[in-house]
Symmetry: C2
């Protein structure tokens, strides 16, 4: 059995890590920065100086404060992934938004414990917003103070505000499943990356559906959404996993209705 | 011939109008507000208390300062539209984003003179950003100060960052034309509403393509983009018009390449 941990100082560190990442990334936002394509010849998959500077800032702080913990980061890979506690870092989720000048990119950080995301954070440095979640609940931290996050009831898909980042990211069969949910829903928003999950935790959206997510894309979201009373599942309705098909909902009834369509395209 | 006008005091009023609209709308953002569907039975077309409060605030200020001018507003209709100067107001462009808690909705205001948009503004009150344009150029105004706006060169569509709000808003033939441009471009962003045009004026995006726009959706954009060195056209490559098919570009060469596809679906 793992040693007991007090979440409070680790949550403080989580916030400090996000602040360091934001301070590293923000000077590049809407400025000049080097960028390259991680998928040359295929679909444009950008990475920038800002992604790397932000992850390096997080790793530097972790090396100082928690050298015994593991780290999994999008840009610099995994170290000590079998440690009791593992920090999972996406320094800039939504690099395409970042490149386009849009303030909806986020820094995502989870603290994984016993193989599951235990604490999590979604931060938008330009807006000065941090959505932080853990066993004691979720909250939004801004310069103006803190307030609790709570999902809203939405039992019927027909009343739901739903979101996905890019309808082109779905495979053919996945797109059909998504389109069925979209056609039933009240309103669909595109292009939000992980910021959509923050809006779900805040009770402004009801359902977020994505596929192809990596662990650093979805692990940080889970504590924020669960701490706000919501659920995160794979397209089979099970705990999310490496297959990367993710559906998050504020209301379990709305989730069940969406799963009727999504299960048919579940990996 | 119309009487000469000094743009400076009118630009000051334009900014004051946007500030009043923002102050009226912002308390509703992410709060509780009444909303209704303007298109009951069809595609969800929301209008909220916030849209109406923001337009009412603009109309109140105009009645005090410029009672002789005309007004065209999305929520409260047209008055004195044959006046020498006509204010064209979309109090909240992106009501769907507003409802979803996303800070990319904007207040759009143009001052139309001799039938053409002469001054224009795109404001995002939550971000505290105002993109203002006119004959003397375009600038971004924030709490930190002002800076000039300038489009960037991007002669090749293959290097372009492009945007449209919702691919579902296109008709079948329009979608085919858009898809051809999208497949050639480097990167596509969805869900930005008029904020995408601000990013174009800032040199972060290269091409924005939309259809079904009303005069209050596009007239305010024209002075901002033209003042930053860009172009706004209809899908035939002519001055934009009531048909509402709009394409904006930072680089005329990139526009020409896009028009090869768009012309085929031009109304």
């Amino acid at each position: 059995m793992a040693a007991p941990h007090d979440p409070a100082p680790l949550e403080d560190l989580l916030i400090a890590l996000a602040r360091a990442a934001g301070e590293a990334a923000l000077p590049f936002f809407r400025g000049d920065f080097a960028q390259e394509d991680k998928n040359a010849g295929g679909r444009f998959d950008p990475v920038t100086e800002a992604d790397r500077a932000a992850e390096a800032a997080v790793r530097k702080l972790l090396a100082e404060h928690r050298p015994q913990d593991g780290i999994v980061g999008e840009e610099y890979g995994a170290e000590r992934e079998d440690a009791d506690l593992v920090w999972v870092v996406d320094p800039i989720d939504g690099t395409r938004a970042f490149i386009s000048g849009l303030p909806l990119w986020t820094t995502l950080i989870a603290l994984r414990r016993e193989g599951r995301p235990w604490l999590g954070l979604i931060a938008q440095p330009y807006l000065g917003e941090m959505f932080v979640g853990g066993p004691s609940g979720s909250r939004l931290i801004t310069a103006a103070g803190e307030r609790p996050l709570r999902v809203r009831p939405c039992p019927l898909l027909t009343d739901a505000v739903i979101s996905t980042t890019d309808p082109e990211l779905f495979s053919g069969a996945e797109f059909g499943a998504f389109a069925q949910v979209r056609d039933a829903a009240r309103l669909t928003r595109y292009g939000c990356d992980a910021y959509a999950y923050a809006m779900l935790a805040m009770g402004r959206m009801d359902l977020v559906i994505e596929s192809g997510l990596k662990p650093w894309d979805w692990e940080p979201l889970v504590p924020v959404i669960e701490g706000a009373g919501g659920v995160v599942r794979n397209w089979r309705g099970q705990a999310p996993d490496a297959r990367g098909q993710i559906v998050a909902a504020g209301d379990p009834a709305c989730l069940e209705e969406a799963l009727v369509a999504l299960r048919r395209s579940a990996k």
